[in-house]
């Protein structure tokens, strides 16, 4: 599979009052076309910087982000984004919020076609009947669903999710994971997910990339069998083992455990310490 997104030798530092703060160090990673890659890692390891780089919102000090082989130097309309904060516009209805990107991005859709598409997406995430409501009338999970529809309305090639479910309660989060699989079945996109939640990463992604502590570089890559999943898949011995490996890799990344300690632990002890 060819990589739609390629990150090549990305090095970046933020200027702070106490000198430069390196966040990414010679990061090399690719995201295959149609794939869904989750990035996990210790807090503050530069994961969000990564999304801003891929979206073209900023440029790395060194290295290159490539989309279809062409370097990304500025934002492009083929990207959709959703954040932990759903940032819906309070003065617009849910439908008008979802339609917002089409007011910026050139589109071939007529107004009616665009509205149809927005309604279809809202239906897909379970928000039919809420089109004319204001965001303040919706719960946090519903707002995040609307925000996902907005990120997808303009048929983006790349969907960037920066901890989109981080602020939701556990049940709502699991609901939204299933919604993500439903969306993926209907909408072709290449996904980049930033998350703190290891269960989320193995449930949603085809590939999990563990980043090291700041300045981040690739610590570990885990490929997962493709295909839609059900929540029960999270409670199999294989899942427990995967979680255990990832958890271990994060601990190594945090410097709490030496890398030599074997990552292949017996499955029985795996579920502990996951939360």
């Amino acid at each position: 599979m060819t990589d739609l997104i390629e990150l090549k030798g990305i090095t970046h530092a933020y200027a702070t009052e106490s000198g430069p703060l390196p966040v990414l160090d010679a990061l090399d990673v690719g995201v295959p076309e149609g794939g869904f890659v989750a990035f996990v890692g210790p807090s503050g390891c530069g994961k969000s910087t990564l999304t801003r780089l891929i979206a073209g919102l900023m440029k790395p000090d060194r290295g290159e982000v490539r989309l279809h082989g062409a370097p990304v130097t500025s934002p492009r309309s083929t990207v959709g984004m959703a954040f932990q904060n759903p940032v819906l516009l309070e003065w617009r209805s849910i439908l008008k919020n979802v339609l917002l990107p089409l007011e910026i991005v050139p589109t071939k859709l007529s107004r009616l076609q665009a509205e149809d598409r927005a309604r279809r997406l809202l239906h897909l995430v379970g928000l039919e009947g809420f089109e004319d409501k204001r965001p303040s009338e919706l719960s946090g999970g519903m707002r995040q669903r609307a925000s996902l529809c907005r990120a997808l309305i303009h048929n983006p090639e790349v969907l960037i999710l920066d901890e989109p479910f981080g602020a939701l309660d556990a049940f709502t989060r699991e609901d939204l994971w299933q919604t993500m699989h439903a969306l993926r079945a209907e909408e072709p996109f290449t996904g980049v997910l930033i998350t703190h939640d290891l269960r989320e990463s193995i449930y949603l992604a085809d590939r999990v990339v563990v980043l090291s502590a700041r300045p981040a570089t690739v610590q570990h890559i885990m490929d997962l069998p493709p295909g839609p999943r059900v929540l029960d898949d999270l409670y199999t011995p294989e899942a427990a083992e995967r979680l255990n490996v990832l958890r271990h890799q994060i601990e190594v990344a945090q410097g709490r455990e030496p890398a030599e300690a074997a990552p292949s632990l017996p499955p029985g002890s795996a579920a502990q310490g996951m939360h």
Binding site: P75, V87, E90, I104
Partner: protein, 278 residues
Amino acid sequence: MTDAPVPVTAPADVKRPARGRVLRALTGRAVVAPIAAIVVFVVLWEALVWVMGWPNYVMASPSDLPPAYARYWELFIVMGWQTLWRTVVGLVLAVIVGVGIGMVMGFSRTMRDALYPLLVGFNAIPKATVVPIVALLFVGQHDFNTVLIAFMISFFPIAVSVSIGLSTLEPEYRDILRSLGASQATIFWKIALPKTLPEFFGALKVAVTLAFIGTNLMEIVSPHGRGLGALFDSGKTNSDYPLMFAVLIALAVLGIVLYYVVVALEKTFAGWAERAPH
């Protein structure tokens, strides 16, 4: 204002005939409560003057006012209009300049740091002291001077609220549009401006009353002034105390009218910010 009757969507309301709705609106809390408060205030005022036995030159009572209005009603209309239009022009200028300064300060950290002390210092100067300076600076330009003072006294809250509204815009709001390649201008029109409107209208309500103070300062102080301030001044010169009080009440009425104009604008343009009561 949060107590305003919930519009037609209230289920109990839907099936009522239109006449019943109008009657209900007129007898609603939002109308009855303020009128009752005004009536109580007037009665207390009248009673206070009567009980204390104050003569007119100490304090006029509400019952002295109708004769004053009856005698000078033409002056009240002419002067009231002069005061009103200058105040409104001053306010419009304050909105334009205030929003401009607020935008500059809201978008640029450097400009915010640079301008804040200047603005605060300027605002700290009592405008009563500026009035004679302005009057000397532009001798005879009474309309211009009055508008200028009304503007100077009222632009500050607008500038501050707009700058705060813009500078506290969460970066994600910007990123949502910026990641699609939207220009700064588009981000301003689609997100920053509407998001700042509630703060803006809050400041505008303060600015309205301030602008009236500015207009009247100039009208009272400057010789051969016009407007209600000048009418007040002539009442003072002629020891016509009921007239002075009548002017004060007329000013209060103008202030209330303008305030509710702002409230109506706010409901139209920023009504979304008002949450439904739970």
